[in-house]
């Protein structure tokens, strides 16, 4: 995902089978890529299981992409369809772009998990079910009148009925645990079984369990035992005749050291790195909100970097405290999601007027209102652009993949610090929780973000007096000086009332207001951003334009079309405000422009308004990322007109 290296197209969903060999009594088959989905009750530990399998896969060196999907309730009613939590992982021996459309393997811990996910499975997929949970009552709860394990409805699939609970309890009978406690380790049994099936390294998971349960040695040993029992079960039972190998994706990756990283973690690291590169203390003012809270959690763990995290009484105080810290000379950040942005709007307007650096991180989720807290969407673009009173332009930056959140955070900080402005960083739930390999940068690759605080008067009055004018701008960037309290001689007052150009004094003069409104706009319009790159090997007539987390699915769809011989050009925007200077010229080159978005056409609205281009929207707002196949079909229709 991190690389642009060309590779086998992500084509059909079936895993590509390669050579076969025998290991001991069992066959080992080699695959190019696999999509696994773990599904269970929200209390079954599916996210943890998925995370562990991902870590094993990352340390093995596959390229990967993940899609956690869970309900907003911490413990939704057990055994129900709304309570199903799942984790999908796509891993490959080559460069991949998405968590995959359709799983090759489903692990279903109960009837609800089977029912909720079976529709996504292609025929022939492997299904591992926990038969212990397929009681009459549990099946009736989700509308199975007969057992799908016995009524032939799963005949088209490769079904592995495994009494996971019984086997786990049996494996742990030596331990001093209640049955209920022992049953809880069944996710580790399942993980062990899958780890055997796909030849995953297991040391990392055992190390993880030892650390996680260091204070509960009995639970720790039981989980390790269940994990090993699952592995051994695969190794010995005849039901699993074949195991699979997916070779490391060494050729897909540029040389370097890699780790697996989620979007929110990469974003948090990006902020710490930005403060380091700016040589400023980092201050986060935040209020807990899904799916942004993990950034608050992560930054609060790094106080030894001089990071101050402030969990405020509400969203407004979160950004207020950040703005106060910005006035004091910190790299100030607030993190939230859409509903929080709505509450912060007035303070963002103040930051526009004060012209202080501030990074506003919006991890978008389904809306409006509370919407879908744990599902993804990119419908806050127009809120970020226009959601304030008055003419209040704010730059907008959007990451495209989980790992890219690191670079996008650095870029948002660069703009905020250079131009003395609030900046929106628009991530989303899919990027936040999804993960992929990340090439760890060397420190000397990071941009220099150092700023110069004002130290002395910057203006001479007619009578020769040297004074400090807080709104006397840098002629190139139009940024005003950043004079922090504690600097002698530069005492000044700023505020939300319109200010006189230069002096910053209160001014109600009509001509001055007109000038200041236009100047603030000109400052944002003049921000230097990289040109948008166009990938167009075949001189196509149709351009697919995207922004944010749709990068993976769009690129996968484009590869499919090109593999079918259909020329299509692709461009993806990091900067939504201002747009790259070359965007207008790029759009003019194509007969058709198609814009897929997880909203009802917000970027398309901006593009049409800005460039008078008849852009076509393709929209999906179901809380999930696009699937590559579906997007490819839609693009094909658009190309065919």
């Amino acid at each position: 995902m991190t690389s642009q290296v060309s590779s086998p197209a992500e084509q059909a969903d079936g895993a590509v089978a390669g050579e076969q060999r025998r290991a001991g009594t069992k066959d080992v088959r080699r695959l190019n890529r696999v999509i696994i989905r773990f599904a269970g009750d929200s209390g079954d530990g599916m996210q943890l299981t998925g995370d562990r399998f991902t870590s094993e896969t990352a340390s093995f060196g596959n390229d990967l992409s993940t899609l956690p999907n869970f309900p907003a309730e911490i413990r939704a009613p057990a055994g129900t369809l709304p309570g199903v939590s799942s984790f999908q992982l796509h891993f490959a021996d080559h460069d991949i772009l998405t968590p995959g459309d359709a799983p090759n393997v489903l692990v279903a811990m109960n009837p609800a998990a089977l029912k909720a996910n079976i529709g996504d499975l292609p025929r022939g997929a492997e299904i591992i079910v926990n038969t212990d949970e397929f009681t009459k009552r549990a099946m009736q709860k989700v509308g199975y009148d007969t057992s799908p394990l016995e009524d032939g409805s799963l005949d088209g699939y490769n079904l592995h009925p495994v009494p996971l609970t019984t086997l786990t309890v049996e494996a742990l009978k030596e331990f001093d645990l209640s049955r209920k406690e022992a049953e809880r380790s069944k996710n580790m049994f399942a993980l062990g079984l899958l780890s055997w099936m796909y030849h995953r390294p297991t040391e990392g998971t055992e190390r993880f369990l030892r650390t996680k349960f260091a204070r509960k040695p009995e639970i720790m040993k039981a989980n390790i035992a269940a994990f090993r029992a699952g592995w051994n079960f695969g190794e010995t039972t005849e039901d699993f005749a074949v195991s699979y190998e997916v070779a490391p994706a060494a050729e897909a990756f540029p040389v370097g050291t890699y780790r697996n990283i989620s979007g929110n973690l990469a974003l948090a690291y990006g902020l710490i790195a930005a403060a380091h590169q700016a040589d400023l203390p980092l201050f986060l003012g935040s209020y807990p909100i899904t799916p942004a809270s993990d950034i608050l959690h992560e930054l609060s763990r790094h106080k030894n970097f001089g990071v101050r995290t402030f969990q405020a009484e509400d969203e407004i105080a979160g950004i207020g405290a950040a703005l106060g810290a910005a006035f004091g000379g910190s790299l100030a950040v607030t993190t939230t999601s859409g509903p929080g942005v709505a509450l912060k709007s007035e303070t963002i307007g103040l930051a526009v007027a004060l012209e202080l650096p501030l990074v506003i991180v919006d991890i978008q989720r389904g809306g409006p209102s509370t919407g879908l807290p744990t599902k993804t969407e990119q419908a806050d673009l127009l809120q970020a652009m226009y959601g304030r009173n008055g003419e209040a332009p704010v730059p907008v930056v959007a990451p495209r993949t989980p790992a890219d959140c690191f670079d996008a955070a650095l870029d948002a900080a660069r703009i905020a610090l250079t131009y003395r402005t609030p900046v929106f960083l628009l991530s989303d739930g899919y990027l936040a929780n999804g993960s992929e390999p990340w090439r760890i940068p060397e420190l000397d690759e990071l941009p220099d973000l150092r700023v110069r605080f004002a130290q002395s008067p910057n203006h001479t009055l007619a009578d020769g007096t040297e004074v400090f004018w807080p709104y006397k701008r840098d002629p190139k960037t139009l940024a005003r000086p950043w004079a922090v309290p504690g600097t002698p001689g530069l005492e000044h007052r700023i505020g939300g009332i319109e200010k006189q150009d230069g002096t910053g004094n209160i001014s109600y003069d009509p001509a001055n207001h007109d000038f200041m409104v236009r100047t603030r706009q000109a400052k944002v319009d003049g921000i230097e951003v990289a040109d948008v790159e166009v990938d167009d090997p075949d001189q196509a007539r149709t351009l697919v334009l995207g922004w944010g987390s749709t990068y993976g699915p769009i690129t996968a769809a484009v590869r499919r079309l090109r593999a079918e011989g259909l020329p299509v050009a692709q461009a993806h925007l990091r900067h939504l405000n201002p747009f790259p200077k070359n965007l207008g010229a790029v759009l003019e080159r194509y007969e058709r422009v198609v814009i897929p978005e997880m909203n009802l056409g917000q970027l398309a609205t901006l593009i049409r308004a800005t460039y008078l281009v008849d852009a076509h929207s393709y929209n999906q707002v179901n809380g999930m990322p696009f699937k590559a196949e579906q997007l490819a079909t839609a693009l094909k229709e658009a190309i065919d007109g």
Binding site: A58, S59, F60, G61, G204, A250, P254, V255, G256, T257, Y258, R259, N260, Y269, I272, A273, H276, F283, G285, H302, K303, N304, F305, G306, R308, F310, A312, E313, I316, A317, G320, A321, A322, L323, G324, A325, A326, F327, G328, G329, S330, E346, T347, G349, L350, I440, E442, L443, P485, G486, P488, G489, L490, E491, R493, I494, G495, G496, N505, I506
Partner: protein
């Protein structure tokens, strides 16, 4: 008002650099024309603050005034210090970010009854409970002035205003009671026209480590003129005003003829005529009492309509951990335990793999 906690002064201001030269009131006046209505109580408060700050001897570039919205919130423009005129109700939040990230600053919040208690009520109570090193000056004129005369959260029940032609239905807040209930470590009340009292309260507030809330009764001569006249008029104030002094019996009236005692049956406070028999029972004010109970009871003595039996002075001044100090300590502890942050090590994490060419 005899006692000033000097120990507090050390912690509250010890990190703020001192002025190199002797300062005067003039040093704190900005070049901006003061634009409050002629006769507004805000002028007296501004003069008292500008007159008292030189006493602290702090480098004025290390002093910051942060305000919200309302007449009083224009205050920072008139101070020749750093300042921010922010948005309605949010000054305590903004000042919290500034004070916690810059412990070398003396941070003051200027707010009004609408700004602090209505739109900004949430931020006020949370600043108080956290005990951030902020000094909050709450100008209470019991009316909305800037929007031209609507009732405020401290207006008396039944008040006729532009938005309540048949009388206000809202029971008012008592800011001192509210602050004590919100775990404030320093709560005082004073009056705009009593320069000496106002200055002494400011002095104690400045020296207090943590959040200090100072309610200043302030006259709005346009929309609520004479709201505190009973406390200012020499005759009427005899019965109305109670001056609290730490360590002194709480007495008032002509020659201290009236006093405050505790009702042994309910534990509540009541006003009595002082007699030789009950003189020993007169409550001695203890601003440093660990329990806020008596300070709260004192805050309830005043009649919200007539303002009779209104205590002024420092109700409560106790030491408890200061938020910004605690935050700084955690940062230091993290460095002690794990060493100064190593960015390369952080980015690398634990589980990595290497791709070679």
């Amino acid at each position: 008002m005899a006692e000033t906690s000097t120990q507090g002064a050390v912690e509250a201001l010890s990190l703020v650099p001192k002025a190199e030269a002797r300062q005067t009131m003039k040093d704190f006046k900005s070049d901006q024309e003061v634009r409050w209505c002629p006769g507004c109580g805000d002028y007296a408060i501004l003069a008292a603050v500008q007159g008292f700050l030189p006493e602290l001897g702090l480098a004025k570039e290390n002093i910051v005034f942060v305000s919200g919205i309302g007449c009083s919130s224009r205050f920072p423009y008139y101070m020749n210090t750093y300042g921010m005129h922010s948005i309605h109700g949010r000054a305590p939040a903004i000042a919290t970010g500034l004070a916690t990230s810059r412990r070398d600053l003396s941070v003051w919040v200027v707010t009004g009854d609408g700004d602090a208690l209505s739109i900004g009520g949430n931020h006020l109570i949370h600043a108080l409970r956290r005990n951030v090193n902020l000094k909050i000056l709450l100008f209470n004129n019991r009316i909305y002035g800037l929007t031209k005369g609507q009732y405020s959260p401290t207006s008396e029940l039944g008040k006729i205003t532009k938005s309540t032609p048949m009388g206000s239905l809202d029971a008012p807040f008592n800011p001192v009671s509210l602050a004590i209930g919100a775990e404030a470590s320093f709560v005082a009340r004073t009056i705009d026209s009593d320069r000496k009292h106002l200055t002494e309260v400011l002095r104690q507030a400045a020296a207090h480590p943590g959040t200090a809330l100072v309610e200043i009764y302030q006259n709005c001569n346009i929309f609520n003129d004479g709201a505190f006249e009973v406390l200012k008029d020499k005759q009427q104030s005899q019965e109305a005003l109670i001056r609290l002094e730490h360590g002194q019996p709480i007495r008032f009236g002509a020659d201290g003829s009236r006093g405050v005692v505790r009702d042994p049956a309910t534990g509540d406070l009541q006003v009595v005529d002082v007699t030789p028999e009950n003189e020993a029972d007169i409550l001695v004010h203890d601003a440093h009492a660990a329990s806020p109970t008596t300070a709260f009871a004192l805050s309830r003595l005043a009649d919200p309509d007539t303002l009779h039996h209104t205590p002024i002075g420092v109700f409560r001044s106790v030491e408890r951990p200061v938020y910004d100090t605690l935050m700084a300590d955690q940062l230091d502890t993290a460095v002690e335990q794990r060493g100064k942050g190593d960015l390369a090590a952080l980015l690398a994490g634990g589980d990595t793999w290497t791709v070679v060419g």
